[in-house]
């Protein structure tokens, strides 16, 4: 990935600072994007509504003067939507960054390699057949999404494997074929079940609209835990980039580490997909942008990708909900508008390298 050499020199000691700055930008973005929307509500009023929901200080916040609809829009619609966007963007980006390192493959992205479709397929099965078994407060839809995604990823990886290697071309081909196939079956199920084509479009293009607090709360803890756990493997991911034999000779338990990373990444993606549907290319664009600026070290790449992914996702969602306001676009359309050309650019770059 030798680029043009234009690159910030990042001192190891700056990692904490970078994370801090990105976190601040994320928090500001959350505030900013909660203010912007079809209904014009003043920033100060937004802050008052949010504070009025906080324990302890809510006694001092009076919002009687604001219309009830404001409270509903901010508290039950926009804020959970923005927070869900952060979680989805962060999960997809971190998983993308980890998979690109794991497969030593710049094109690995949860959407491109079929994991997202596998998750959506699993979720659809749970929805269509009305399966209802929740474990540890995780809904059956999320659990089935995880099972579907795991099945898809092991299928894709095994089909793509060739002489103990996973070449870019076969990974892309088997990922896209599997993804399209599962999406087709999923759409078929939905048509037969609900005749609601709009729902299918929103599910296969992905949307953050109209979810409320409940799904956000149910996936937030498992998603955040899996993201934290992923950071346990940053050293191993770095070493894997220097080659598997090298990693093995340094004492890395290569097969086991790869399995853990694959399962963790698949898990965080399926949690997101089970709520938002398939949102493509986020896990491709964000890690590349972050790597371009901060370098290949996963110690900074993983957390920074998650934070930037969160910011990117809520920005894309802002476009999705305001560009043809009061109508909405599925946010997956916006990410694909960015991601498609970017994907082609990367393909071209990697072809040149080969």
């Amino acid at each position: 990935m030798s680029k043009d050499g234009i690159k910030l020199k990042i001192n190891k000691k700056r990692y904490g600072l970078i994370i801090l700055v990105l976190s601040l930008v994320l928090v500001l973005s959350i505030g900013f994007f909660s203010v912007i929307g079809t209904a014009n509500i003043r920033p100060l009023d937004v802050l008052r509504i949010v504070l009025s929901k906080m324990p302890i200080i809510n006694k001092h916040i009076e919002i009687e003067d604001l219309p009830d609809s404001y409270e509903a829009i901010i508290w039950t619609i926009r804020l959970p939507r923005v927070l869900l966007g952060v979680l989805v963007g962060a999960s997809l980006s971190m998983a993308g960054a980890a998979f690109q390192g794991l497969f030593k493959n710049p094109m690995a992205d949860p959407y491109v390699i079929g994991i997202s479709s596998g998750a959506a397929f699993g979720a659809t099965i749970a929805i269509v057949f009305g399966i209802n078994i929740s474990i540890l407060n995780i809904s059956s839809i999320s659990i089935f999404a995880f099972i579907g995604a795991l099945a898809a990823v092991f299928l894709v990886v095994n089909m793509a494997r060739f002489n103990h290697k996973i070449p870019t071309t076969t990974l892309l081909l088997s990922g896209i074929a599997t993804g399209q196939f599962l999406t087709a079956i999923m759409s078929l199920f939905m048509v037969m079940n609900s005749k609601d084509l709009a729902k299918i479009v929103y599910w296969t293009m992905g949307t953050l609209a109209g979810k409320g607090w409940k799904p956000l709360v149910s996936i937030s803890i498992p998603s955040i835990i899996s993201m934290v756990l992923m950071n346990f493997f940053v050293k191993d991911l770095n070493i894997l980039l220097t080659g598997e034999e090298s990693a093995q000779s340094l004492g890395v338990d290569v097969e086991r580490v790869k399995t853990y990373i694959l399962i963790l990444g698949t898990f965080m993606v399926s949690m997101s997909v089970s709520i938002s549907g398939i949102i493509g290319f986020v896990g491709l664009i964000i890690p590349h942008m972050v790597r371009l600026v901060l370098g290949a070290d996963h110690k900074i790449l993983l957390p920074a990708s998650a934070l930037v992914g969160g910011i990117f996702m809520i920005s894309a969602d802002l476009v999705a909900r305001t560009v043809i306001s009061p109508m909405e676009l599925p946010v997956g359309i916006i990410t694909a508008l960015f991601g498609g050309p970017f994907f082609l650019y990367l393909l071209r770059a990697s072809r040149k390298q080969a």
Partner: protein, 259 residues
């Protein structure tokens, strides 16, 4: 004193046997070259010794103890591997790469500290790569990269270094540079060095001992003068050669003559 003791080793890929009933010993602090034609099993032996491949049969003893009884990191503190033609396409600095050699000395959540940095810097000094430490590894030459990979191996603080074709893909001057470096390590620190190498002349100059391989068997082993003979070369490479003593280095040198 042997540091590695290989007994009745058998190994192959799929159903094809590559290493057949191999037994040998490696003396501590020696510099040993494995030579032989393509497919003779040089690289395979290197990978078996570094425990990347599991033998079908037989055992490898490291300091008298079965290599499989070592924990992964424990083994990596004793044996370092420099794989064939390592290409790193990711933008790590040279220092990042060398510090990876400290991995087997650290627990999962332990950060690299001053001590690790000091060891990494010494490894870079020894391999003449310290001036490259902030360079991006994708932007240095092949010879420099090979030295960086050797620095990473040194940072592991191993008593044995295995190298798979360390001079392939290098210009002659860089080949000599790398081999000089290995000889110095061997002489000054007593590091045991095992090299799979194609170039017989270079192997003859640098090695204490040469193992000549053919079809997964050791045809002959011993001091270069004992192994590099007209008969052996003809048998293993099917090539007629003249063997002279080089008047500058006083080492043997072979020249193919049926050309």
């Amino acid at each position: 004193m042997s540091v590695i003791d290989v007994k009745d080793l058998q190994f192959g890929y799929r159903s094809e046997k590559v290493i057949d009933d191999l037994s040998f010993m490696i003396n501590r602090a020696s510099l040993v070259s494995l030579i032989g034609p393509n497919g003779s099993g040089k690289s395979t032996i290197i990978k078996l010794l570094s425990n990347i491949y599991r033998p079908w049969k037989g055992k490898i003893f490291l300091e008298g103890q079965d290599i499989n009884s070592y924990k992964r990191k424990e083994l990596a503190r004793k044996i370092a591997l420099v794989p064939q033609n390592t290409i790193i396409n990711y933008e790590f600095t040279v220092e990042d790469i060398v510090l990876m050699g400290r991995y087997p000395h650290k627990k999962r959540f332990q950060r690299e500290d001053e001590e690790d940095l000091r060891i990494a810097h010494r490894a870079m000094e020894d391999t003449n790569t310290l001036h490259l430490k902030d360079k991006i590894v994708t932007e240095i030459s092949g010879g420099e990269r090979q030295r960086v990979i050797i620095a990473k191996a040194l940072a592991q603080n191993p008593s044995i270094i295995l190298l798979d074709e360390p001079t392939a893909h290098l210009d002659l001057n860089h080949q000599i540079e790398v081999l000089n470096l290995l000889r110095n390590l061997n002489k000054e620190k007593g590091t045991t060095i095992i090299i799979a190498i194609h170039d017989i002349n270079l192997a003859t100059i640098y090695s204490d001992e040469i193992f000549m391989l053919s079809s997964g068997k050791i045809v002959d082993k011993g001091r270069p003068e004992e192994v590099i003979t007209k008969g052996n070369i003809e048998f293993v490479y099917n090539l007629e050669v003249a063997i002279d003593r080089n008047k500058y280095t006083n080492s043997l040198s072979i020249t193919p003559i049926n050309i």
